[in-house]
């Protein structure tokens, strides 16, 4: 899908974060942004421009579903919720990520005497 590896990695990560965010309850696009920032305690900076294409891509894949609803300030907004397929996807992604992080962590934590 992407042109080179770093974008791919970022994109994959963003997808996972979006899935996690909506798994906690239906959110509109701006809400997804806020929730990720909130959970990460503002340590993750999300490119706002890439958020919406990501939402559309996830909907295209069938992992989230969008529906029109009322926002907290009484405006029309599109709310996304996790689908069953999305739940499985999030689980798989999280598992992969944890394995990956574990492996990297153990490599980085290796001391010379352990070799």
């Amino acid at each position: 899908m992407g042109e080179n590896a770093p974008v791919d990695l970022l994109q994959g990560t963003l997808d996972m974060l979006v899935l996690k965010a909506v798994s906690l309850g239906p959110l509109h696009g701006y809400g997804v942004l806020l929730r990720i920032q909130q959970i990460s305690q503002n340590r993750l900076e999300i490119q706002q421009g890439s958020l919406y294409p990501a939402l559309y891509r996830l909907e295209h894949e069938g992992w989230i579903a969008g529906e029109w609803g009322q926002s907290e300030n009484n405006r029309r907004a599109r709310f996304y919720r996790l689908t069953a397929a999305g739940e499985r996807r999030l689980e798989a992604e999280a598992k992969k990520w944890n394995e990956f992080a574990g492996v990297i962590g153990s490599i980085l934590g290796t001391a010379p005497e352990q070799l």
């Binding site: 706002q48 421009g49 294409p53 990501a54 559309y56 397929a85």
Partner: protein, 886 residues
């Protein structure tokens, strides 16, 4: 991931693109406003907050596009853009578009028309369930591949064979209908009771022929066609039980055939075979009928043929005098119907595909020439970052747009062409009623158009998209003669080669037809009419009455002003009619009838020879006294005389005609080319004339109905025929006059198998010539444009105008000439390799020098004319301006 959600979102993005756009728009706006509100709550001024919210989201339009693209519509959007661009480019160069689309329309149109012929005649299935299991069974003997089986053999096959679900016998027999309604001659059949069931057809109204009705002496019943039901019975739903007078006999209607029922011909009536069968059909040695059968599921033609031949070998042993040496051939119904036509149709389809190749060469030439002209455009696009793939795709879109436009116009042309074509095709062409622009044909055209656009657009596109950015931007290639010219020249040569092949084919056929018309058929074809009359039932109650009825009819016709002479015959030369059987010299009958020599039997009246102007070589022809009760006499033709009485006088000798008897030979007449003007004399060339009034009583009533009247006139047919009709109707109004044709028409129809190839090859050759001249003109004038500077230099250095035009014309003629060499080689090879073509030739060699020379000369002439205009333009180049042009 889920396929259904992908398809759903993609489909929404494609079909409701505007809705999706509006949705993204609303979402993004909501985002900006919410974000701006949050910022304002943090103390940012309103203006600043909105600006920042917008800036962080980035380019609004680009985001919208990204979202749509996320639903998988990118390629579609690009295709749409490519299409828009392609159309704009074509509109901007209308000349190019017109020539390209016009060429393609002609090429694809011709192919569409021809494919609809292939589809209708060869590919479309026959209109019967499991038609591939329907077969004919034929007898054969050495030298004669296809003989009608005899009725007794059919009965034995039907009873003993295990390979067939059903077997039935059928004889075409035409009836004279006298009531209800106006007297009319009807096509009809006599069929065994299993006939319709074998085909898998059930009557639309009423019932099928019962087994008990197909017995000797059963009551007379009839099935009628949908047409007859509507015209003679006013579509009466309760028609069963009403009656019909056929050949003077009353038949009870039992059912109506389904509308559109067509088995080899459009029969209007079907009667049971057995009760209406002439007595002589009971003879095992009389080849009388067609046997149709339905193979059991899973049984191949080969298996069935092996089984039925084993059965026949036993029959040969049981009945050696009637059967010895008889084999059985099983042929599929389709093969029987389409036969030789299949080869001709495929040949013509091959020819028309050459026309498409010529068209495609034009397209490739145009695209190549244009790609050179557009080099700067692609250079700029590449410089701006377009990938090679994108440019190739853009160019392919353009060529496919061209070919599809050509295809669409081609279908319209094919519609017109087919109408002309169907009118020009001979009546005898089988299954021509199936030909039309059906769905299969349109699918073929669409596929062919897209394929042409892709295949012939690809090479020019790849060449254009060569990553030669700098060169293209600087346009240094101007004026040089590069590889592209070589390709253009080769394409033109190929066009001329293919055109020569098509023109040679058409030329050889034209020469053959000319030669055929010069053939002496053995009789005088001018001022001769043939027709049939159904004599009134009131005049044909007994055999004696029938004979007198026809004699009186002839006497009246001979009185008509403009009639020189007239008489009866059972078969008309060149009409394809066959009526023959065994004969032997002397009276001792041979051991086996099938092994005895065979001859054509002409049952004629005494004035036949005079009417036909066949020369009498020895002895005499018949007189009115040669009739039943007098001594049996025959007249033989010169071929029989030379074969069986070499160096002797046959007059006075005895000859026995099978199933009739021993007779004295009283005369020898000239041989007639019965089987066609191109008759090579290999099949049944011997001819015996028998006095028609000596026909035994038992056969008279059935046989006389099938007799033809031949009339020699001194006035044109159009003037004589109405008077003859009047005479016939005056003697009795219930006598139909039908099957009227001049001998010229009969001769023309005998050459019918050559007509479609001549008409179509001629049309294809003309198209090819047109396309090739457009091709050479385009390439030469393009090269003149490219060489303007070079020509300027040449002229500045002293070349005069004549020399420049000679150079340009020379270039064109060299391209064409190379093509002619290859074309002559290809044409002579193809003629040799294609028997379906060479069998159409007559009196002309496969490499006829006159045809080859004439065709080559006219092609050189066309090349000269096509090069003349660009050459004149080259000669009028102003050297100063050409040099400054850079």
């Amino acid at each position: 991931m889920s396929l259904s959600s992908r398809v759903r979102t993609w489909w929404r993005a494609v079909i409701r693109g505007a809705d999706v756009d509006a949705q993204v728009d609303e979402e993004l706006r909501f985002h900006i406003e919410s974000y701006a509100e949050d910022l304002m709550r943090g103390g940012t001024p309103r203006e600043e907050a909105i600006r920042r919210a917008r800036a962080e989201l980035g380019n609004f339009a680009a985001r919208k596009e990204d979202c749509r693209a996320a639903w998988g519509t990118r390629w579609l959007d690009e295709l749409r853009a490519d299409l828009r661009y392609a159309l704009r480019m074509l509109v901007r160069s209308p000349g190019f578009a017109l020539v390209a689309v016009g060429s393609l329309a002609l090429g694809i149109g011709a192919n569409t028309a021809m494919f609809s012929v292939v589809q209708g005649i060869i590919l479309a299935p026959l209109p019967f369930p499991n038609a591939d299991r329907l077969v004919f069974l034929w007898q054969n003997r050495p030298g004669v591949p296809q003989l009608d089986p005899s009725y007794p053999n059919f009965e034995d096959w039907e009873r003993t064979s295990r390979s067939f679900d059903r077997m039935s016998a059928v004889v075409f027999h035409n009836f004279d209908l006298t009531a209800p309604g106006r007297a009319e001659h009807l096509l009809g059949m006599r069929a065994s009771s299993s006939f319709l069931a074998t085909l898998g057809v059930t009557p639309a109204i009423g019932r099928n022929i019962a087994r008990t009705e197909d017995q000797p002496n059963a009551s007379s019943v009839v099935l009628i066609s949908d047409r007859l039901w509507k015209e003679s019975f006013a579509a009466d739903r309760h028609v069963a039980g009403r009656s019909l007078i056929l050949d003077g006999k009353s038949f009870t209607v039992i059912g109506v055939l389904p509308a559109g029922f067509h088995f080899l011909a459009d029969a209007d009536v079907i009667t049971p075979l057995r009760p209406n069968m002439p007595a002589i059909y009971a003879e095992r040695s009389v080849n009388s009928l067609a046997v149709l059968a339905r193979l059991k599921s899973g049984i191949t033609i080969g298996h069935a043929e092996a089984e039925i031949n084993t059965i026949q070998q036993n029959l040969d042993l049981l009945y050696p005098d009637a059967n010895r040496g008889t084999g059985i051939t099983v042929t599929s119904l389709m093969q029987q119907i389409v036969g030789d036509v299949r080869g001709t149709v495929l040949l013509l389809f091959g020819a028309v595909s050459l026309v498409l190749l010529i068209t495609c060469a034009n397209l490739a030439n145009l695209l190549l020439a244009r790609s050179t002209a557009r080099a700067a455009e692609f250079g700029i696009r590449t410089a701006l970052g377009a990938s090679r793939g994108r440019i190739v795709r853009q160019l392919m879109t353009e060529s496919v747009v061209l070919s599809l436009a050509g295809g669409a116009l081609g279908v319209a042309l094919a519609g017109l062409g087919l109408r002309v074509l169907l009118a020009a095709l001979p009546q005898s062409l089988p299954r021509s009623e199936n030909i039309g622009l059906h769905l299969e044909v349109l699918l073929f055209t669409a596929a062919a158009s897209i394929a042409v656009g892709i295949i012939f657009g690809l090479a020019p596109a790849l060449q254009s998209a060569r990553p030669d950015v700098q060169g293209a931007l600087q346009q240094v290639s101007r004026g040089t003669i590069g590889g592209r010219h070589a390709i253009l020249g080769r394409l033109v040569a190929m066009q001329f080669a293919l055109t020569l092949v098509l023109m040679t084919g058409a030329g050889l056929l034209l020469r053959s037809i000319r030669n055929l018309w010069d053939v002496n058929p053995g009789f005088d074809m001018q001022h001769l009419i043939s027709f049939q009359v159904g004599l009134s039932p009131s005049l044909t109650r007994t055999p004696a009455e029938t004979r007198i009825g026809y004699q009186q009819l002839l006497a009246r016709i001979r009185q008509v002003p403009g009639v020189e002479s007239a008489d009866l015959t059972n078969i008309v030369p060149l009409s394809g009619a066959d009526n023959g059987g065994p004969f032997w010299i002397g009276t001792a009958s041979p051991a086996s009838l099938p092994e005895a020599p065979h001859a054509l039997y002409f049952w004629t009246g005494p004035d036949y020879l005079k009417t036909m102007r066949i020369p009498l070589l020895q002895g005499r022809f018949f007189t009115p006294d040669d009739q039943l009760g007098s001594a049996k006499v025959v007249v033989i033709d010169s071929v029989l005389a030379q074969t069986f009485f070499p160096g002797e006088n046959p007059v006075g000798r005895t000859l026995t005609v099978g199933h009739w008897g021993a007779a004295r030979i009283v005369g020898v007449v000239g041989h007639v080319r019965h089987w066609g003007l191109d008759d090579p004399g290999t099949y049944n060339p011997r001819q015996i004339y028998i006095p028609v009034y000596e026909l035994p009583d038992a056969m008279v009533n059935d046989f006389f109905r099938t007799l033809k009247l031949l009339v020699r006139t001194t006035l044109p047919v159009g003037e004589v025929m109405p008077a003859i009709r009047n005479v016939v109707y005056e003697s009795s109004p219930d006598q139909p006059v039908y099957a009227v044709s001049t001998m010229d028409e009969v001769a023309t129809e005998s050459m019918a198998s050559r007509k479609p190839p001549i008409v179509l090859l001629g049309a294809f050759a003309t198209l090819a010539l047109l396309l090739a001249s457009v091709g050479i003109y385009g390439v030469v004038s393009y090269s003149v444009t490219r060489r303007t500077q070079e020509i300027g230099i040449r002229m500045a250095l002293g070349a005069d105008r004549a020399r420049v035009s000679r150079m340009i014309v020379g270039q064109g003629v060299r391209m064409a000439g190379a093509g002619l060499g290859i074309g002559i080689l290809a044409a002579t090879t193809l003629v040799r390799l294609l028997p379906s073509f060479s069998r159409l030739l007559y009196g002309v060699g496969q490499r006829d020098p006159l045809t080859l020379f004439g065709v080559s000369a006219s092609l050189v002439l066309v090349a000269l004319v096509a090069c003349y205009v660009p050459a004149r333009r080259a000669a009028s180049v102003d050297p100063m301006r050409a040099l400054r042009h850079e």
